[in-house]
């Protein structure tokens, strides 16, 4: 006599939640990644420290060739600070609030220095702000100097 074995019994008491959990997890990870990338911060790295306005920086080591300074003065376009914008000026740069003009002037200066035998790494761009100049405008000019190809950029004491 053949005795049939007991059949497996599967209890299905509701919808299968597993795919739902998987999808929710994927969405969660996506949003976490998107959130962390959206709030990403970066850094403008300077190794120059602060210089004295119009003066020299740290004392030179024996045999060290001093950097060629290139000063750019930065102030708020509106001295009261109520209206946005900055004003930049330098030797050969008429006062301007256009960042493209500043960048063009800086790039032209660098080419002229290079043509005269001064390598870019021996040029020190000094940002000389007024006391009330807003930090964000200084960052804008700092970036213009970076875009113009300069490697050494420093802030000076205010004027």
């Amino acid at each position: 006599m053949k005795i049939s074995g007991a059949k497996k019994v599967h209890y299905e008491s509701g919808p299968n939640m597993t795919p739902l959990v998987d999808i929710v997890m994927v969405i969660l990870i996506f949003l976490m990644l998107a959130g962390s990338f959206g709030g990403e911060t970066t850094f403008l790295v300077s190794k120059q420290g602060i210089k004295k306005s119009g003066g020299v920086g740290r004392p030179l080591k024996p045999g060290e060739v001093p950097d060629t300074p290139l000063e750019i003065r930065v102030s708020n376009l509106d001295p009261t600070g109520n209206n946005p914008g900055f004003l930049a000026t330098g030797t050969g740069l008429s006062p301007t609030h256009d960042i493209e003009s500043v960048q063009g002037w800086l790039a032209g200066k660098r080419k002229a220095f290079n043509a005269a035998g001064t390598p870019t790494d021996k040029i020190l761009v000094t940002l000389s702000p007024t006391r009330d100049a807003k930090y964000k405008y200084l960052i804008d000019v700092y970036q213009a100097a970076l875009q113009a190809g300069y490697e050494k950029i420093a802030f000076t004491t205010s004027h």
Binding site: M25, V26, K47
Partner: protein, 152 residues
């Protein structure tokens, strides 16, 4: 009711567990590397900013615009604790610390590799930031990184 065929190992629970572990480690990593940065500070925007290779030799200094005074309001994560810092020597004591002392200790610890991250309010007048930069120069910290948010 028809018989259900099972053709192999069910990997669904494995995927679920792996997902949970990924989320857990992501959260732990995110929380574990806190530099003490104050998210309320509106940072200036920059498109040319770089990422730092290592944050192990950095000190993040939060520089708030003080609307009612000449000195900025400063705080940083010092010895694992968020502390208010002061530029002048007449600080109140307690958990507060003097900026110059913190910067000097930071420089002594990492020497030339010390990298100060300045997280300053984008609308702050330079006269307040200047005081911080002068304190850095006095502590002989040459590497200063200005933290910016990405975008124009």
């Amino acid at each position: 009711m028809p018989d259900m065929k099972e053709g192999g190992v069910n990997v669904t629970p494995l995927i679920d567990i792996v997902m949970v572990l990924i989320v857990f480690f992501m959260l732990v990593a995110k929380i574990g590397v806190s530099r003490g940065e104050d998210e309320d500070i509106p940072l200036p925007s920059a498109i040319l900013g770089k990422s730092l290779d290592s944050l192990s030799n950095t000190l993040t200094l939060n520089v708030h615009w003080n609307h009612n005074g000449d000195e900025p309001i400063l705080d940083a994560l010092v010895d694992g604790q968020k502390r208010d810092l002061h530029l002048t020597k007449q600080y109140r004591g307690g958990s507060d610390q003097e900026l110059a002392r913190v910067l000097t200790a930071f420089h002594n610890q990492f020497q030339d590799k010390a990298n100060l991250i300045i997280r300053a309010d984008q609308d702050m007048p330079y006269r307040q930031l200047e005081l911080v930069l002068l304190a850095c120069a006095e502590a002989e910290i040459g590497n200063v990184s200005y933290e910016t948010k990405t975008g124009s």
